[in-house]
Amino acid sequence: MDDPIVCRCEEVTLSQVERAIDEGYDTLEELKRHLRMGMGPCQGRTCLPLLARILARETGRPLEEVMREVSIRPPLAPAPVTLFLGGADEG
């Protein structure tokens, strides 16, 4: 394949990621917002580790540093609305 898909939920390819980094989107949060990667049903479990590796490689920064720049947002997997109905006093 000439241009592999990095994010299956939002159908983002490697060349799109590389172009975005060239344009100055040089943190995971910025790339996520620009490309919508990590915002689909997988919530980044598949694509964000790949994206972090590409970003570390392209910018020459350590992977651990790159990974720290993204926030993990609950719920960790899609959760049915019915789980949260009723009994609004706890939490």
């Binding site: 620009h34 609305v81 939490g91």
Partner: protein
């Protein structure tokens, strides 16, 4: 980083980028935006994207109407798709008191030229299918309200501004303001100082700290507001729905997700932006009460941002009393994304020509010295 600039803007949220672009388009191109993090990292990139004109104070209504005129053609103007949808806002009321308040608001809105109107509960499903009419006492609708994608609005403004010569300095935190002879003479940052012609405080929920660096006290308070999106479903409405009764708001995004939030009267001021289970329960219970069919969805993601709240829920705009080159552009109280395009125009009028419009004068920091009439429709 440049050593000086005609205009130094603190904050690359919607206010900062809209103002930078508007100035540059008019030929004021020596503009630098200082951003501590990255563009849209604060409230703008966390907001619901609603663009509402149904307010209760004349300045808010006029600013919002002026903004809609700009939003209507902004994708073309910026040559960037901002995912603008002019599907209208449906405002819900559940008590006789709220219905009466809506009637008065619509009268003022119509007087100012806004095509809002009152609806009976029975008329609501024509506007939003699947709506349970037994949950409300009345509603209003304005077809020219709408929503857009905040990420794309920030990007669009910024790209256009940079093409015109505006500089963006990411990762640049303001750490001090030097004041001499009634002017801000230097802006100190973690990357060195910059000498400004004028300085614009567009730092959102952190504006109070920025102002304090110049010895100016703002009454703004940061208040957490939570929000979520569901998985994508078939598009069924372009309308943004909000309730005066519970403070819930929601719409369907261009991607088909249901996106919304609900205000929490128990929320205390502070910088905490963690997500809570309490919010999930309150929001989803209200969502499903109005639209039972949405109980079949799954929640994808939740997050939070900070409203920058003033005592009258109206922004603080324009020159600071005693410091004419220090311009406030903050305190939007949850409405910044809606009115920023028009605010950018009136602030540019002041920066470019020293012109102070009626609304700019009314929204000056000086107003808190007297009696103030507050905005009643603060939702979310």
């Amino acid at each position: 980083m440049r050593a000086s600039a005609d205009v130094v803007i603190i904050g690359a949220g919607i206010t900062g980028v809209a103002l930078a672009y508007t100035l540059a388009r008019r030929g004021v191109r020596d503009v630098v935006i200082l951003e501590r993090s990255f563009p849209g990292a604060g409230a703008t990139g966390r907001c619901g994207g609603g663009i509402r004109q149904q307010f209760t104070t004349a300045p808010n209504i006029r600013l919002a109407m002026g903004s809609v005129e700009i939003y209507e053609q902004l994708s073309q103007e910026l040559d960037y798709d901002i995912e603008y949808v002019q599907g209208g806002y449906l405002v819900l009321a559940e008590t006789a008191e709220e219905v009466a308040l809506q009637r008065r608001a619509v009268a003022l809105q119509n007087e100012l030229g806004l095509p809002s109107r009152t609806l009976t509960p029975e008329e609501v499903p024509e506007i939003v299918p699947l709506f349970d009419t037994s949950t409300i006492a009345g509603a209003t609708f304005c077809p020219t309200d709408g929503h857009a994608n905040p990420f794309r609005v920030v990007e669009g403004y910024l790209r256009a501004a940079r093409r015109l010569g505006v500089a963006l300095e990411k990762g640049t935190e303001v750490v001090g303001l030097e004041v001499k002879g009634g002017r801000v003479t230097r802006v100190m940052t973690n990357r060195g100082p910059i000498s400004p012609g004028v300085v614009v405080n567009a730092a959102g929920a952190w504006s109070r700290q920025i102002a304090h660096m110049a010895g100016v006290e703002l009454p703004n308070q940061p208040v957490r507001h939570e929000i979520l999106v569901t998985e994508s479903v078939q598009p069924f409405t372009e309308v943004m729905v909000i309730s005066l009764h519970t403070g819930i708001y929601f719409s369907q995004t261009a991607q088909g997700q249901i996106l919304g939030g609900i205000g929490d009267p128990e929320e205390r001021p502070g910088y905490e932006i963690r997500s809570s289970l309490k919010f999930l329960r309150r929001f989803l219970s209200e969502l499903v009460r109005h639209l039972p069919a949405l109980g079949q969805l799954s929640v994808l993601r939740q997050w939070a941002g900070l409203y920058d709240v003033t005592p009258d829920a109206q922004p603080i705009l324009g020159p600071t009393p005693g410091l004419p080159n220090f311009i406030q552009a903050n305190g939007y109280s949850g409405h910044g994304f809606m009115i920023a395009p028009k605010v950018a125009e009136i602030l540019a009028d002041y920066i470019e020509r020293g012109e102070v419009s009626e609304d700019l004068a009314r929204l000056s920091l000086a107003r808190f010295e007297g009696e103030v009439e507050g905005e009643a429709f603060v939702v979310g």
